[in-house]
């Protein structure tokens, strides 16, 4: 029962959503199912949130034989304080200016800067790891350099901007198209396997 019922639900839902493209009369049911998916997805988002809160509270509780807290517990406390403040700002002001300011002045800069760090790592990696060990690597390197120069400044010398466009719309296009074709076929095949119950990894090990 633990396996068969989920497989049956998957089959029915999958077959219906797959076939409704060809059955116009199924439109009202299709719209309803879409609504249902939205609601269940919303619950799944909160699942992640609950998991995160659970984890941070866990780090603040003393545990183990010596009844010690996790060494990073003050940071977990900071995360929970951030959460509570945001909840107060959001519900207390009905997403008023403070709520928006907390987003603009904490979340936005932190996330942006985290990804900005990658520019430094990339420069360091370019210096240490980008080696021309083979013909393939030379092609990759030349292509990268041409795109980096050509996409940036249309006044670039030696026709590099033109060459950059040719790489993008020539070798790059055919390579990415081959990948897209493969991915498209692979996605359809995997989806079909899920619907037909041949792919069951989402069911877990079955031990729980």
């Amino acid at each position: 029962m633990k396996t068969q019922i989920p497989l049956l639900i998957c089959l029915v839902a999958g077959l219906f959503m797959g076939l409704q493209y060809f059955i116009p009369a199924a439109l009202p049911v299709y719209n309803r199912v879409n609504d249902y998916i939205q609601v269940v997805t919303a619950f799944s988002l909160v699942l992640g949130v609950v998991n995160l809160i659970h984890r941070h509270i866990g780090r603040m509780r003393p545990s183990g034989p010596q009844r010690r807290r996790h060494r990073d517990w003050p940071f977990s406390l900071a995360a929970l304080v951030g959460l509570v403040v945001m909840l107060f700002a959001g519900f207390g002001t009905q997403r008023g200016p403070i709520f928006q300011s907390l987003f603009n002045s904490i979340l936005l800069p932190v996330q942006s800067t985290m990804f900005a760090l990658l520019a430094f790592y990339l420069a360091s990696a370019a210096f240490r790891a980008f080696r021309v060990r083979s013909v393939d690597a030379v092609v990759l390197l030349v292509s990268a350099v041409v795109v980096m120069v050509g996409r940036l400044d249309d006044g670039g010398a030696l026709g590099i901007p033109w060459l950059s466009r040719q790489i993008l719309n020539g070798p790059n296009l055919v390579a990415k198209r081959a990948i897209i074709l493969g991915v498209g076929l692979g996605m359809a095949a995997t989806a079909l396997k899920v619907v037909l119950g041949l792919e069951r990894s989402y069911l877990g090990s079955g031990k729980e």
Binding site: I37, T41, V132
Partner: protein, 280 residues
Amino acid sequence: MTTVDLLQRLLVLDRRIIYALLLVCAVVPFYMNWPPIKMEVSKETQDAYDAIDAIPPDGNPLVLSFDYDPASAAELTPMAEAVLRHCFAKKIRVLGISLQYSGQGAGIAAEVMPRIAREFGREQNVDWAFMGFQPNAVVAMLQMGEDFKKTFPTDYYGTAVDKIALMENIQNYDQVPAVLTLAGTAVAESWVTYPGMRYGVTILTGLTAVYVADIVPFYQSGQIKGMLGGLKGAAEYEKLVAHPGSGTAGMRSQKVVHYMIILFIILGNIAYLATRGRSR
């Protein structure tokens, strides 16, 4: 010390020196207005501009989907600002939505849309509206194809959809001249694959540079009608609307840093090739 010794020492250069050099290269151009940049508008950007420009003033709105989070804001927010300036200056209505899964795109839109609308004195819920975010991007995209109002029963600020004048005539994609998705992830591809195929809606994309090379086949096949790529795409659009903003300002820095990284690659390879025999 021989040249090879010097190159060998170069190979083990402290990473912090590289970081410091990069920082200097990125900061200095802001203060020196150097180096010069010659910028031409690419065909992809021009196509996107033309598609938006063709939308009749005070008619059905452009759907502007903020499908990105703060991690991509440096590239995509300048695009959003430039497109909004274009629309508001030409009295093209804009319907903002966000399908970014964590809802953070909504936070960005809630800051950007009112700010640019104020610049042009455009009225909320009449000339523009922001409907907030919905989870499960694909399903939301498909739902909009049947019923916009059901997909977004209220706007971001809690106003019921029936009270939003802009939404009066919007039933589904038939009343939407184009959708511009600003995306840093595969959401752009979902727009093409689902509503693009099923409802034939005109899809325009504003992408982070990371994603440009991957999406080119969809532009070539005509599934995407126009495309802005990275900070350069934003700068090109700013040029088209004659309002240089943060996209244009950043291009000088970008140029210097790119040349620095290329120099690093060349130096690293010279050092590698020169010392290869020795390390063997």
